[in-house]
Each structure stands twice: as structure tokens, then as C-alpha cells.
């Protein structure tokens, strides 16, 4: 579910149909209701009641000065026993490039239960970079007292990484749909 209300630029929306064909229900505005001249920030009504759905619910919170507080927009999210708030960290982004920056960033988010190392440079990602991210994120996680839930990597690089990264975190393989979004 696309909860990115600051930069709602179409992260999930263009590939909505494709994800739906694979059995995922996508809660996001369709293109034709976007804008009328502006970004189409308005949240669809179903967003509020997303947790009433069966099965796993994934909320893409995006960024913003409020961090995890965005979850307040989903009824019951903060109280739900199964809720896991995971901070996705890409060490190749300048605002979260050092251990200190990652720690400061995560602390500002509010409730966070775990980190995901998603360090990459898009098409120019190398295994070395992913591993460097793993080291950095794990060091930050230790200072924060949080687990590193996984290191994510695109399926093209996965064979070079194996089942665990250099710090022993489990590796989750990503199959990218995003190039078929706008970027």
C-alpha cells in the first residue's frame, strides 16, 4: 500500500495491475484520479482500513519529517500485535552514508523494529557495495539494539552473494518491477 504522502510519485501505481495479476492487492490511486493539476496526495479511503484485510499487509511509508508516524493514518496500525516496522537503508544515499547518519536517521523515525540493508546503486550495484552496506547497517543496528532482518539484492546478483551476507544476515532476493514503473 502506497502511504508515501510526501513524494507520492507513483512508486506502486503504474505496476498495480501487474502486481495484482500475481495475487497482490494494491491500494493506491489509479493514474486517472491523479492530480487534476497537483500530486494527488489525497489518500484513498481504503488506505485507512488496510489492516482489516486478510493476509499480509505491506505498507510503503516513504519519507518525510514525520517518519513512522505516518502509520497513524492506518487504523489500528500502531496497536496491531503483528506489526513490524522495518527501516530500509541504502548506504549509497548521502543522508544515510555513515554509521552515525544511519543511527541518527533511524532514531528520528520513531518506532522501528528492524533494519533492512538495501544498499544499491541501481544498475551499477556491485556485490562489494552490498557487502559494504551490510557491514555498515549491521554496525548501526548493533548501536541501536535492533536486528538486521535481511539484506536485499536483485536476483541478478543473488548467486554471487549466497544465502547470507558477510555479516551473516539472511539474503532476500528482489525481482524488480520498478523499471516498468517510471524508473
Amino acid at each position: 500500500m502506497d502511504l508515501d504522502v510526501v513524494e507520492p510519485f507513483f512508486t506502486l501505481r503504474p505496476i498495480k495491475r501487474e502486481l495484482e495479476a500475481r495475487g497482490l492487492q494494491v491500494v493506491a490511486r489509479e493514474r486517472h484520479t491523479l492530480g487534476l493539476g497537483e500530486t494527488g496526495v489525497p489518500l484513498p479511503a481504503e488506505a485507512k482500513w488496510a489492516l482489516r484485510r486478510e493476509g499480509d499487509v505491506i505498507l510503503d511509508v516513504g519519507y518525510g519529517a514525520y517518519g513512522a508516524q505516518t502509520l497513524n493514518l492506518v487504523e489500528g496500525a500502531d496497536r496491531h500485535p503483528d506489526l513490524q516496522v522495518l527501516a530500509v537503508i541504502n548506504v549509497a544515499r548521502p543522508m544515510t552514508a555513515t554509521v552515525e547518519d544511519v543511527v541518527a536517521h533511524v532514531r528520528e523515525l520513531g518506532r522501528v523494529d528492524g533494519l533492512i540493508n538495501n544498499t544499491h546503486l541501481g544498475e551499477e550495484t556491485t556485490v562489494e557495495l552490498v557487502q559494504e552496506g551490510a557491514r555498515l547497517v549491521t554496525a548501526a543496528a548493533r548501536l541501536l539494539g535492533l536486528p538486521v532482518v535481511a539484506t536485499s539484492v536483485v536476483k541478478e546478483l543473488a548467486p554471487l552473494l549466497g544465502g547470507r551476507d558477510v555479516m551473516g544476515n539472511p539474503v532476500r532476493v528482489l525481482e524488480r518491477f520498478m523499471p516498468r514503473a517510471f524508473w
Partner: protein, 366 residues
């Protein structure tokens, strides 16, 4: 007083959105003041600037509108600090007010434009429809410098260059991007410009210099109004002479495969990325095509394009607007018997398939 930390040290390959790139590049160029007003799709430049501000001692004010953003920026410039603003669409229309003043008074304003669909509110996503406005806006002669970027690396490099160009030559200088560039994420190399031998032209104040005016130094008496036509004529001719003198130092373009080409595609910004891909592929198939990319839309690389057109090649202008780039092309080629065709898609990306089909038709004489 301890030296402020440098926003970008060394050199590093990073991953971020175009708007974030602009904020970092401006800081790396020594910009100290940003003034702005929210308008999609450039808001994130402000969002990132306000987060960088406390770390690097930067100044920011969200003004009441774009008129104020432009004029407060000019105030910053007059006070001797590198200042900039960013806007789009209807905000760009409003920006012509302060920018006319900058043109008349030779003030080194730097403005980043992330084009969106127009006219009026249009759509907030993307277009190349602010070419005319950015290149030739205001109630003057359009004495401006406009850099059209087509990648995040361009956004970084040319935002830094924009400050140097503005403060060296003293004409309002623009970085012309678009909503897709602003929001896309791709790798970019951030670097400390001085480490790469890029000299940062220093800012200097127009007002408030040391000493008592009229006693220790002449007062600064800055104006943009004249009493009689002849007076203004002299002033404008002086501006024009200066602009034309420095234009050859500023103008930039890139071209490929134009020798022996039957068709040359002309494009800028992200549309150029598509054109580049198509041209390279077609050439591998043996089709005689080339591309011409103006990097500065103002001053326009007319001499270089005239040399290409003089060979009798057919030109195809590809843009996400209805002939705005083509207008600049035709003006540059006036007097030559050049054939200028257009593939115009106002407000939408032009697909590679479409570009290829059109080029092939033109090659075959269609």
C-alpha cells in the same frame, strides 16, 4: 570562528533523486541562500536543503509566493551571497518578474526549473514546455543562460556550473530539468568541485561594502529605470554587446554521427536520452543518422548547428512540447535552406519506437 564543514568532501558515487542532487550540488557550489515556494515537482529541493541547512550553516526561507522567492533571492545576491531558487510551471511564469530585473541589472540569479505540463496548472509530472519561457521570458531581450540537463550527473555538474557562470558573466542562469529528472533515482558521482580543478567563482556584494558611501567610496546607486528612450537604448545595447561577447565561452552542445548522415535528430533533456539510444542502435544497423544535443538552449549553439545543416541533412526535432525547441532551431538556421521536421509530444515522453520509425521514414525520403 571555526570553518563550516564542506557539504561534499572528496568524491563518491551515490544514489538519489534529481531534486536531492540539486540541493547537494548547490551546497557544493558554495550557495548559501535558498528561497522558494512549494510547487510540484521541485518541492524536494527545498525539503533536502532545509535538512542540510543546520549542518552547513545554510539560509532558507519559504516565501509567500514565487514573486517573493525571486526577489528575496536577488536581495541575497545583492548582499553578496550565492543565492538560488527553484520552481516550475505557473511558478516559472511568476518568476519572470524578478528575472527581468536580474537581466537589466546583470544580477547573478540562479534558478532551477523542473518542467511540468502546461499551460496554466497543466499537470504536475513532466514536460519540456517551459523552453520558450525559460530561454526568452521576461520583458527584455532574453539575455539569459539556460543549461538543459539530461541526467543526474548533468544536474550535479551543471548546477555547480550555473553558479560559476552566473557570478562570472552576471546574467541570470538557469538549470532546466523536468519532473521526471527531479523524481527519478539513479547513480551520480558527487564531488568537491575544487578537488576536480573547478574554480568556484567567488560572490561579492553589490551593497554594504566597507566604508562610508560618498566619503570612503562611491555609493552603489543601482537602478533599472531610465528616463528617455535613448538612454535605455544605450543601456540595452551595452547588455547585448556584453552577452554576445561572452556567449562563445558559454555555449555548449554535443553531437554524434553527423558526418555523412541523412537525418540528424535534435533533442535536449531526457528526450535526448531516448534519441541517443535510438541513433546508436540505428547506426549499428547501418542507417545514416546522427544526433545533435544543444546543452545550452541560451545562448543556442547556432554556429555548430548551422555547420550540420549546411550539409543538406534533414533535421528532426524531437521534444515533449509543441515546437518550442524547434523554434530556437529554426531561428538559429535562418537564412539556410534547411529542412526542419518535428516530432512533438507536448507533456509526454517520446518513445524510442516512435523516434526510430520517424527517422527511418525521413531517411527513406518520406
Amino acid at each position: 570562528m571555526p570553518a563550516k564543514p564542506k557539504p561534499v568532501e572528496g568524491e563518491k558515487k551515490v544514489f538519489m533523486t534529481g531534486n536531492e542532487v540539486v540541493a547537494w550540488a548547490a551546497a557544493a557550489a558554495g550557495a548559501e541562500c535558498m528561497y522558494g515556494y512549494p510547487i510540484t515537482p521541485q518541492n524536494e529541493i527545498m525539503h533536502y536543503w532545509t535538512r542540510l541547512a543546520p549542518k552547513f550553516g545554510l539560509i532558507f526561507l519559504q516565501t509567500e509566493d514565487e514573486l517573493a522567492a525571486g526577489f528575496t533571492m536577488l536581495g541575497g545576491v545583492l548582499a553578496g551571497r550565492k543565492s538560488f531558487t527553484a520552481t516550475a510551471g505557473p511558478g516559472n511564469t511568476l518568476m519572470q518578474e524578478p528575472l527581468s530585473m536580474a537581466e537589466m541589472m546583470r544580477l547573478p540569479a540562479v534558478v532551477v526549473i523542473q518542467q511540468r505540463g502546461g499551460p496554466s496548472t497543466g499537470q504536475v509530472v513532466y514536460s519540456q514546455q517551459e523552453v520558450t519561457l525559460t530561454s526568452l521570458g521576461g520583458n527584455g531581450e532574453g539575455l539569459r543562460v539556460v543549461y538543459s540537463t539530461s541526467s543526474h550527473q548533468d544536474l550535479y555538474d551543471y548546477t555547480i556550473k550555473a553558479f560559476n557562470t552566473a557570478w562570472r558573466y552576471r546574467f541570470p542562469t538557469f538549470v532546466l530539468g523536468d519532473g521526471y529528472q527531479g523524481k527519478m533515482r539513479e547513480p551520480v558521482v558527487m564531488y568537491d568541485p575544487e578537488l576536480r580543478g573547478v574554480e568556484l567563482v567567488p560572490a561579492e556584494p553589490y551593497v554594504g561594502r566597507p566604508g562610508t558611501p560618498g566619503v570612503d567610496r562611491p555609493p552603489a546607486h543601482l537602478r533599472n529605470a531610465y528616463s528617455i528612450e535613448e538612454e535605455l537604448y544605450e543601456a540595452v545595447m551595452e547588455l547585448v554587446r556584453e552577452y554576445e561577447k561572452v556567449a562563445p565561452e558559454i555555449v555548449e552542445h554535443e553531437a554524434f554521427g553527423v558526418d555523412g548522415a541523412r537525418v540528424v535528430a535534435v533533442a535536449h533533456g531526457v528526450v535526448f536520452r531516448a534519441v541517443k539510444g535510438v541513433v546508436r542502435e540505428l547506426r549499428q544497423q547501418g542507417v545514416p543518422v546522427g544526433y545533435f544535443r544543444p546543452i545550452t538552449l541560451r545562448p543556442f549553439p547556432a554556429d555548430a548547428l548551422r555547420r550540420v545543416a549546411a550539409t543538406g541533412v534533414r533535421l528532426l526535432v524531437v521534444e515533449s512540447a509543441y515546437g518550442q525547441l524547434a523554434r530556437l532551431v529554426k531561428e538559429a538556421l535562418s537564412g539556410l535552406p534547411a529542412e526542419v521536421h518535428g516530432l512533438y509530444k507536448p507533456g509526454v515522453l517520446v518513445g524510442q519506437g516512435e523516434i526510430a520509425t520517424r527517422i527511418k521514414t525521413l531517411v527513406q525520403g518520406g
